[in-house]
Every structure is written in structure tokens, then in C-alpha cells.
Symmetry: C2
Subunit: 348 residues, 2 copies
């Protein structure tokens, strides 16, 4: 068949399924790329459809990151794998003090996956890209046989331009710093797990998945005064704080009563025997800064629609170096352990 | 359990399998990252284990690319998924006229996958990285339940620095150019498919998977005189030439008798009813340059160990614009169609 005739005749229909040949690198691949990906995500760089994207950056200090997304279910209250794949990588760039600029998109699709669901995920992604002013500039699509993957996996890698003087690595916390969280914790994990397990709390529990650049950018003007940024994704607040305590060789002391957790999230945790401190967020950050900046940081966070629940939850001390101590509601103390990783597979 | 005690006590053993918790973002994730990934792929940037990698580039013109690898089987004659994942992305950068510098590594692993096989793939990757002087600087590991993925999928994204004046996009071919291939075609596809189908030709058919920077770098000194570079991966030579003809709006005329194909590869194609022109390579390039440079290009290619079989296989003409014509061995002519993509799933 003549290739133009093929492309004209065989328009992709909404009820169509993904075929192995959509990943074969030939005509059907082009069709999928043009009718779904370029149509929804297109921009002058992506539209070149070259082996890679040629970019001109305005700085030579860049941040590069990658994340694969295997969340189950693909669509959950407050988001879906497309929104998650855009936000996750954007937020990793932001946590490194970089303005997110460009993403790559790697799709692994199971044969028979619904085209409609693919488009839905791609459109969610597009919404986030528009808000965050980030472009998908290069991509790759693979299709595997039915049973060889679970519907859809997405990899996004990202390039951002680091802001001058921003150095927000986990190793920068110092005694005298305070620990701030930008919002309620664990909503993403609780929303995904309750959807997966069919728990209906008759509530409006939704994932917090969101891009963090707008919320965090004003803080980055503090330059080297902003010590650490970390998004509490897999492993939740516990893993983020343990990472900071260990990398910075400091003690972190947090007060349970200051840690903002929605009652719906707490409810899911109690029902399933999960610790809210281990529950993933996808639109929150842990901010560590000197105590004297705390008021300004909270003011900046509170003035943003996504930062209304921001709270100072604890302090950084010299001892116990490498450990995180929780002052519990009932007046006790316990060491917060790095989670083992058993709790929640495929949360992102 | 105390985290240091855990890490000391529970060393990963060679007969161990990947558990869901190795992807959970907690202690077991750290163990996998430290004992396999950092141990085998480590370098100062990766070892930071931050949310992303901070890079300082010496130019502002960069190339960014991504590829996911789902090859089946994971280990095949001449290579494996690790070698393929390194070479595939390195070669996409090279095809864009860029010196490959940094890769990201995104792993999606099926629960129960053998740690030994993971290490084997990672070590293959390391070999290529050393040869190509490329570093893995950031990564991500996800584990999905048994049955939710086929063993191991790898995404690599890459950043390269574009050489001054290199503009090798598929839209740059012009009438009067010649088309050169750097070696025999289709060996990768034939090796993978014969291994998958259990075809034993009692031969030494091996994948051509290899990094192309060493072979191609000398050609890039020609600057804007080198018109196009394309690696004939999925869809093979047919897809690469159709892409060039279409994007450059030129006719391409190739002579079948000049196209180097190993007799073992031809044998596999005949047995399975496949067209050698559609068979993937993972260590070859199509080079388009003005006729007067052809001799120099061939000389440079022939002087490299990977370019011994380089050949001029055809010419670029004004007409038929957008089409590729094959002059067959028996003196006929046929239009080379963009393959549909049905032939060979999971070849890379």
C-alpha cells in the first residue's frame, strides 16, 4: 500500500487498541506518533521527529533526572499515570534547584491497550506541561505482547536549568535549621491504595500529584540559604527525612502533632496498618532552611494556592547524627526508621 | 531493625531474586542501588544519589534523546539488553552529531527476576560506557509484581554535546549526494530473531550492537558537508531511507547488489519470510554526503575496525521526491516501502 494512502485511509479510531506494529518503527508507529503524541504534545522541537532533540540552553549548569512510572491503577482519584509522569520528573528537577525545561517521554505499552486510555493519559500530561511551561522534546514508543507488561509504563527524563546559587542537596542540612513541609502528607499514597483496594471512605480523598515549580521557585531566590529540598515520594516523609539526616550527618527531631495529615489519609492508614510517615506524596516538598528564614519561607508558601497547609514540623540538631526522632502525640519519642520498602508497590 | 545492621547483615547474594521491596524506595531499594548499580556503574555524580544529576557542560548546544529497551530474549548472540540500552541511546546522540556524555538509567524489573542476570546486564552496559567514555549520572528503579512485566525493561535517556557545525538531520539530503552504509545490514535483527525462534544455522551470526561514536566522530569534522546520519534500527535500512527521502523531499536510488548483507542474515530472512532491508541494526549508520566527499568518508570508515564493510549503496536524486527506489539484483526496480511494523516485535 502506498504510505500516504495508508495514513489517509486508516485513521486511528477512539475504540482502537494498540497493536504490536504500533511499536515496530514503521508506518503504524508513525501513525501513533502523529495522531496521538505529536497531536497532543507537539512543539517545534518534538515535531522534528529526529533521533534526538537539539536544545540550546541559556546556562551550562543543568540538572538531568529520570523516573519510570508503573502506578496501579493507571487512573486514580486526583490523577493518572500521565499527570504523575509529568509531575514526578518536573518535581525532581525542582528539588535540585532547577527550573524544569524539557522532558523526554518513553512509553512501553501492552498490546491491546486502549487507545482512548492512552490519549487520556497523554492529555493529562499535556495539562501539566502547559502549567509548568515544560516541553516534551523527544520520545520513544515500544509495544510488547499481551501479558508482557501491565497496560502502560511511562518513563520521563528531564532537563532543567539550575538557578544561580541554588544548592538544595540532601547533604546540606545543618544544626539550627528548621524542617518545613509544604502541605498534608501521604494523600497520593492513600488515594492510590484506597482506589486499588476498593476502599470507599465516602470521602474526597485525592492524590496531591502536582508540579512544584510555582510553589518552590520563590523560595529559590534565597540562594544558598535554602539548605535542602526533597519531595517525599516513595517511602514518604520517613524516607525523605532519613535521607537528609544520613547525608547531612545531623539529627532531625520532628513533632508528630505538627505533621499535617488529612483525616481521610489517616483513616486509610489505620485500616490497612500503614504508617502515614511512609506514605508517598507527589506534590509536596520537605524544605530545610535556617531558623531565621522560617517565617519568610512559610509566608511565601502560604501565599501560594498549593502551600496553604505548609508547616514547620521540626528542627535539625547535631545529635543523634544520622537519625530522625519523632516526638509522638502522647509525649514519647521514637526513632523514625527508613522504611523497608514492602508497604506499597507500584505507588508511582 | 537498625538500618546499618540491616545493610551489613543482609548482603545481596548471587542467587537472590528481585523483590517488590527492591523498588519500594526504602532500605531494600538502597541495598540494590548500592550493591549493584553504584558498585558497577558508580562515578562521582551518580554516587550523590540525589533527585537528579547536576552537570556542567562545555557548550550550550546539547542533544537530548530517550529510548526504552524491551528486547526478547534479554541475552542473545553478540549482546544483551544492557549492551543494547547503552548503545542505542549513545548512537541516537551520535546520529544527531553530538558527542555522547551522560546517560540516565531507568529500570523496570519483574518481581522474581534473577539478580545474577541483572548484574550481567549492568556489567555489559558498563563495558560499553567505558569504551564510549559515557557516564550514567542518574537513575530510577521500579519493581512490579510477577507477571506485570517481562523480566527487565530498560530506559536510557542521553545528553550529548553537539559538535560545531554538525547538522546531520534526516531533512538535509540533497540531489547529488551519495548514500553510504557503515557495515553489513540486519545482523542485530537476524541474531535476535534466530535466537528467539530457536533457529540454529550452525553459524556465527551475532548482533552488530556497538557504540558508533568512535567510527563516526572522524566524519563529523566535515561539518555541514556531512548531510545526514541515521542508524537503521527498528524498520531497518528501509525505514531509515524512507525517513530521509520523505524529510528531505528527495528521491533515493539504491542498488541491491551494493547493499552488504551477511549470508547468515540472508538465510534467516529467507527462512522466516523477512526482508533484509527491514531488519534492524544496532551498530550501523547510514551516511549521506556530497558525492565528492564519498571517497574520504569511505576511507575514514574503512580505517576503523567497525567500518571494514562500509559501502556506497546509492545516490540521492530530485525525483521521485519522497520515495526510495531499489535497483534489484536481477535488473528490475521496485519502490522500497516504509515497513508497516508487523515483522519483528521486541527487537530492541
Amino acid at each position: 500500500m502506498n504510505r500516504q494512502a495508508f495514513l489517509n485511509d486508516v485513521k486511528m479510531k477512539n475504540d482502537q487498541m494498540i497493536l504490536l506494529s504500533h511499536g515496530g518503527g514503521g508506518l503504524r508507529s508513525k501513525q501513533l506518533i502523529n495522531e496521538v503524541l505529536v497531536k497532543r504534545l507537539g512543539n517545534p522541537v518534538l515535531n522534528m521527529l529526529d533521533d534526538g532533540a537539539l536544545l540550546t540552553l541559556d546556562r551550562k549548569d543543568i540538572v538531568f533526572t529520570t523516573d519510570s512510572f508503573v502506578v496501579r491503577p493507571l487512573f486514580f482519584p486526583g490523577g493518572d499515570i500521565g499527570r504523575l509522569a509529568a509531575c514526578g520528573t518536573i518535581n525532581d528537577l525542582v528539588m535540585m534547584g532547577a527550573e524544569p525545561r524539557y522532558l523526554s517521554l518513553g512509553l512501553i505499552i501492552e498490546e491491546g491497550f486502549s487507545l482512548r486510555d492512552l490519549e487520556r493519559a497523554v492529555l493529562s500530561m499535556r495539562e501539566i506541561l502547559d502549567v509548568a511551561k515544560v516541553k516534551i522534546v523527544t520520545g520513544d514508543t515500544k509495544v510488547v505482547e499481551k501479558g508482557a507488561a501491565a497496560g502502560l509504563f511511562i518513563n520521563t527524563s528531564g532537563i532543567g536549568v539550575r538557578l544561580a546559587n541554588a544548592d538544595t542537596r540532601v547533604s546540606n542540612a545543618r544544626p539550627g535549621d528548621v524542617v518545613v513541609v509544604t502541605g498534608t502528607l501521604g494523600d497520593h499514597g492513600a488515594a492510590v491504595i484506597s482506589c486499588r483496594e476498593g476502599i470507599n471512605l465516602d470521602s474526597k480523598l485525592e492524590s496531591d500529584v502536582a508540579p512544584l515549580w510555582g510553589l518552590i521557585a520563590p523560595l529559590l531566590t534565597q540562594g544558598t540559604e535554602l539548605h535542602c529540598l526533597r519531595d517525599p515520594t516513595r517511602g514518604g516523609l520517613a524516607a525523605a527525612l532519613c535521607d537528609i539526616a544520613e547525608a547531612s550527618r545531623v539529627g532531625i527531631r520532628v513533632r508528630e502533632r505538627e505533621i499535617p495529615v488529612r483525616k481521610e489519609t489517616l483513616g486509610v492508614c489505620r485500616l490497612l496498618g500503614l504508617d502515614p510517615l511512609n506514605m508517598a506524596c507527589e506534590g509536596r516538598a520537605v524544605v530545610v532552611c535556617p531558623e531565621r528564614l522560617c517565617r519568610d519561607v512559610l509566608r511565601m508558601l502560604h501565599s501560594h494556592p498549593m502551600g496553604g497547609n505548609a508547616r514547620a514540623i521540626g528542627v535539625v540538631e547535631e545529635q543523634p547524627a544520622g537519625l530522625v526522632v519523632l516526638e509522638t502525640d502522647v509525649g514519647g519519642e521514637r526513632i523514625v526508621e527508613m522504611p523497608m520498602g514492602d508497604d506499597l508497590p507500584r505507588i508511582c
